[in-house]
């Protein structure tokens, strides 16, 4: 049978199944094949908070969405073109996101009476006409897999478990993905269980062959490779990029990295990643609690390491007092907050931008801290290096605000040459800097206002620092009113004076009257929305803040250059409040706090409304 091959410029696929069905792995493999093929891509995993929710239930559904295209893309996509539903729960949980006409590939074997009842389907949606507005491909994935593996020396359970590889094979055929990488991957993943490896590879190939031979699939698709900036690429998630950025920051600062951390979703993967790289001299310390994590990091910084702590919002709340100690002792420290839905425990696996004001102000006293926020998963690398630069150069704690969306999302990353990375080293002080050979731990660099950093082991520079107010220069305890006023202002001036690049504006027309501004992980959806608006013939300028404290020097000027400034945030208007207070600009907020990233379509509509109102 000759099958039709259709050209597409982009596709969004969502794999959904029970948490035990291996959907994340399937998605990761499809991503790797797609990256290898040369498409641009963006991914969004979505997994239940429960480790193993009861099988077949709605809370147990795990999914993985992948957007890939023949051009550069900015988000994991709003709505899938294809849904792979491994059971009724996966269908029910995801059908609402699926536009009419999209493909559904459903595993009929799991649509049993019992499984349908579990999720409240009165009948079998695959057999009545409730799905008639979609293109349904009813495929008995489990039994086809088991049949394909007949003769393998494995249990029935193991054979059934390979159904995700059958599904991957089928999708790989549909979209003409290269398969060698997956075969190699399976060989190495199951290197110690060769029979399981062979069975999974056979299931994968059976899925491919099924697509090629069955009449149920008449069309396969081709999405040409994207034209990206030349270079060597890899696919990378935000958490992995952030971990690599911390390593690069320490290497470029010529300091040993010390991570003090307590496990917390969605930040734990940074701890896991850094724990693997001990040969870089990285010490990872899993502390007894969040406070001990940051405290140990600060203690290590006092000793001459680059101290880092990684956490999420609840952890930042606990670390606040120690961050204040780092502010007043003026030691380098990086605090990574992978934001998640709050308040309190909130929704640990869902994303949010609600910790900005806590990062800015969540400490007692006048306690200024630089705040940075990466814009995309791969930007987590760049901003982690930037956090290290600022921490070391200015001797200050730095807050780095990632979030659940960046942490687990992934995209192709052009790997930088090490020679492209900045040298951010700032040598320790080894010489006395006061009269008569004394050492003044708070005598500042006149340009940066940073204090010298003399570490234990340096003869003649023995000194004491602490949380009590210090006399300017000597660092001795001081309750002098004027000294306190001076020190409060000096600490503020140091942070205000941090060198931050100017805010750049993307305005292809050059005469847009509306600016859409964002910060952190909303970059992708905002930029995609701006493209849609422009494609529809309207004009909009876009700017994105990655430095939130201090703000780029030209921020006020940029804001005042437009009739209207729209600021979408996944919070109730935290940056808007800061900008209004600082620049007296009537910023228009657009806020949704659903634990999910914005959709490009949604933002395009909002931008359109603002343009119309001008």
């Amino acid at each position: 049978m000759t099958k039709q091959v259709q050209q597409l410029d982009r596709v969004i696929i969502r794999f959904a199944g029970d948490s035990g069905d291996g959907m994340q792995l399937t998605g990761d493999r499809f991503t790797a094949e797609t990256a290898q093929f040369g498409n641009d891509l963006s991914t969004l995993p979505n997994f239940p908070a429960e480790i193993r929710a009861p099988a077949g239930t709605l809370p147990g559904v795990s999914s993985f969405q992948l957007h890939f295209a023949d051009h550069d893309i900015l988000t994991p996509g709003d709505a899938p073109n294809v849904l792979v539903a491994m059971n009724p729960a996966a269908l029910k949980a995801n059908i609402g996101d699926l536009p009419r006409g999209a493909d559904i590939i459903a595993n009929t074997d799991e649509f049993t009476k019992r499984n349908l009842q579990k999720v409240g389907y009165p009948g079998n949606p695959l057999e009545d006409d409730s799905l008639k507005e979609w293109r349904l491909h009813a495929v008995p994935l489990t039994s086809l897999t088991v049949r394909a593996l007949d003769g393998f020396d494995i249990s029935k359970k193991d054979a059934e478990r390979a159904k995700n590889m059958f599904a991957l094979g089928l999708l790989s055929w549909m979209y003409n993905r290269p398969t060698e990488g997956t075969v190699k991957f399976l060989e190495s993943k199951f290197a110690r269980k060769p029979e399981i490896a062979k069975a999974n590879i056979a299931a994968f190939q059976a899925g491919w062959n099924y697509g090629e031979t069955t009449e149920s699939f008449s069309v396969s698709y081709e999405i040409k490779p994207a034209t990206l900036t030349p270079g060597v690429y890899r696919n990378i998630s935000g958490n992995q990029a952030l971990a690599y950025g911390l390593i690069a920051g320490a290497v470029q600062a010529k300091l040993p990295l010390f991570l003090g951390s307590y496990p917390i979703t969605p930040a734990s993967d940074i701890l896991h990643e850094l724990s693997k790289h001990k040969r870089f001299g990285i010490r990872t310390f899993q502390a007894e609690d969040e406070i001990a994590g940051v405290a140990a990091a600060l203690g290590a910084s006092f000793g001459g390491s680059l101290g880092v702590t990684t956490t999420s919002g609840p952890g930042v709340a606990l670390k606040a007092e120690t961050v204040g100690l780092a502010v007043t002792t003026e030691l380098p420290l990086i605090v990574v907050d992978v934001q998640r839905a709050g308040p309190s425990t909130g929704m640990p696996t869902k994303t949010e931008q609600t910790d900005l004001l806590m990062a800015m102000y969540g400490r007692n006293g006048e306690s200024p801290v630089p705040v940075l926020a990466p814009a995309t998963p791969s930007d987590c690398f760049t901003m982690a290096v930037e956090a290290a630069r600022i921490a070391v150069k200015y001797r200050t704690p730095v807050m780095l605000l990632s979030d659940g969306y960046l942490a687990n999302g992934s995209e192709p990353w052009r790997i930088p040459e090490v020679s492209e990375l900045p040298d951010i080293s700032a040598p320790f002080t080894t010489e006395a800097n006061g009269e008569d050979g004394t050492y003044l731990p708070f005598k500042r660099d006149p340009e940066t206002l940073a204090r010298p950093w003399a570490v234990p082991g340096t003869a003649g520079l023995e000194h004491r620092i602490g949380g009590i107010e210090k006399a300017d220069g000597t660092g001795n305890i001081s309750y002098d009113p004027d000294n306190h006023d001076r020190m409060v202002r000096l600490r503020q001036a140091k942070i205000d004076g941090i060198d931050v690049p100017d805010l750049t504006v993307d305005d292809p027309s050059g005469d847009a009257r509306v600016l859409v501004l964002g910060w952190g992980s909303t970059y992708g959806p905002i930029a995609a929305a701006a493209r849609r608006v422009r494609a529809a013939g309207h004009k909009v300028a876009q700017a994105h803040l990655r430095h939130l404290n201090p703000l780029p020097a030209n921020t006020g000027e940029v804001l005042r250059s437009y009739d209207k400034v729209l600021l979408p945030e996944i919070n109730l208007g935290q940056l808007a409040m800061l900008l209004r207070a600082r620049f007296l600009v009537d910023v228009i907020s657009y806020n949704r706090v659903r634990g999910l990233p914005f959709k490009a379509e949604e933002l395009a509509a909002v931008i359109g409304e603002v343009i119309e109102s001008v």
Partner: protein
């Protein structure tokens, strides 16, 4: 006694710390800061004892660090001309953990009090002890909150009348020694602010022990809890209640007809009996190096009811690898196995593809 432990007493615990090549005196360890505790405070005696004992260690002054939390005792680092970090309430053991784990060439001392170490910082204390971080933790126990002006502390006796407990405190106090032994600390000792010789002897052993050392120092707060340890200091009562623990020696105390001994009790613990009523062979011989902490724990319970008989000295001193040693060993192993990390190789790891 194991050989490795002998090594510890001979200075193995300090082997990684650079030694000074010049003669040091007490003066070298005094900072230029005016000491500001209340006149008569027990902290003065401890400070003087520490300043005069540090030169004995023969370490480079710049490789000694004092880290403290919050409380009267936590001002201590300001008065010593070493590196010092006066931190925040309860967190000194955690801060010192990061320092000691990343700098095995430092002699790190934690100065803390009963409120700092056992209330707000209780969690960090027990974890530093179980991990065996290379720290010397000096816990000044005055059984009261001094800096906040006189509230009861986690070591105050039940029924303590204070500003916050006008009808008497309700909660049972911690015994810091029992707590430390429960966390399986490798070195646990108790001493007294006013007994300089004993204090310095214990500090010396603590310093030479590699790993976590907890030293409880009974310290008199003459403003808010004056006389808390008088029965242990008054020549009339002192010798009748003080049980001096010395490794390898039978545990006997008291004088004359009141002479008593400690033996194993039928219920599995230890008990105090009149010396005259026990045969020599029945008297418990103190073994500070017993890997099993049970007997040391039983000895710590002799002070129950409080101050009936109070063991002083080293309860436990065993040799086990310190956290920093194990951590740095992993780094060395990883580097030996795969070579030093290369940033370019790291970034190019995994599946890559080339465009253009």
């Amino acid at each position: 006694m194991s050989d490795s432990f002998n090594g510890g007493l001979n200075g193995k615990g300090l082997a990684l710390i650079p030694r000074t090549d010049s003669k040091q005196t007490l003066k070298d360890f005094k900072s230029d800061q005016e000491v500001r505790w209340c006149p008569g405070c027990g902290d003065y005696a401890i400070l003087a004892a520490v300043q005069s004992f540090l030169p004995e260690l023969g370490l480079r002054r710049e490789n000694i660090v004092f880290v403290s939390g919050i409380g009267c005792s936590s001002r201590f680092p300001y008065y010593l001309n070493t590196y010092g970090f006066h931190s925040i309430h309860g967190r000194a053991p955690a801060i010192a953990t990061g320092l000691a784990a990343s700098r095995p060439d430092l002699s790190v001392w934690v100065i803390t009090g009963d409120g700092d170490a056992l209330s707000i910082g209780g969690n960090h204390l027990i974890h530093a002890l179980r991990r065996n971080v290379n720290l010397n933790i000096l816990l000044f126990n005055n059984r009261i909150y001094g800096l906040t002006k006189g509230q009861y502390s986690p070591t105050s006796e039940i029924g303590k009348i204070t500003k916050s407990t006008p009808m008497g405190s309700l909660d049972k106090p911690f015994n810091p020694i029992s707590l430390a032994l429960g966390a399986e600390a490798g070195f646990v000792a108790r001493t007294m602010d006013s007994d300089r010789k004993h204090l310095q002897g214990v500090l010396r052993q603590a310093a030479e022990h590699r790993g976590a050392s907890l030293v409880e120092i009974y310290q008199n707060c003459n403003i808010f809890n004056d006389g808390a340890f008088d029965t242990l200091k008054d020549p009339g009562t002192r010798d009748e209640i003080t049980v001096r623990l010395e490794h390898g020696q039978p545990i006997v105390f008291g004088t004359g007809e009141n002479e008593r001994a400690v033996r194993l009790s039928p219920t599995g613990g230890v008990e105090v009996v009149r010396r005259a009523e026990v045969a020599d062979g029945e008297i418990l011989v103190h073994d500070a190096h017993n890997p099993d902490p049970s007997l040391a724990f039983a000895l710590s319970r002799l002070d129950e009811p409080a101050f009936e008989h109070v063991p002083m000295g080293v309860f436990r001193s065993i040799d086990r690898p310190s956290y920093d040693h194990l951590l740095n060993e992993q780094l060395a192993t990883a580097t030996a196995d795969k070579g030093e990390g290369s940033l370019a190789d790291l970034l190019h790891g995994g599946d890559t593809w080339t465009i253009g």
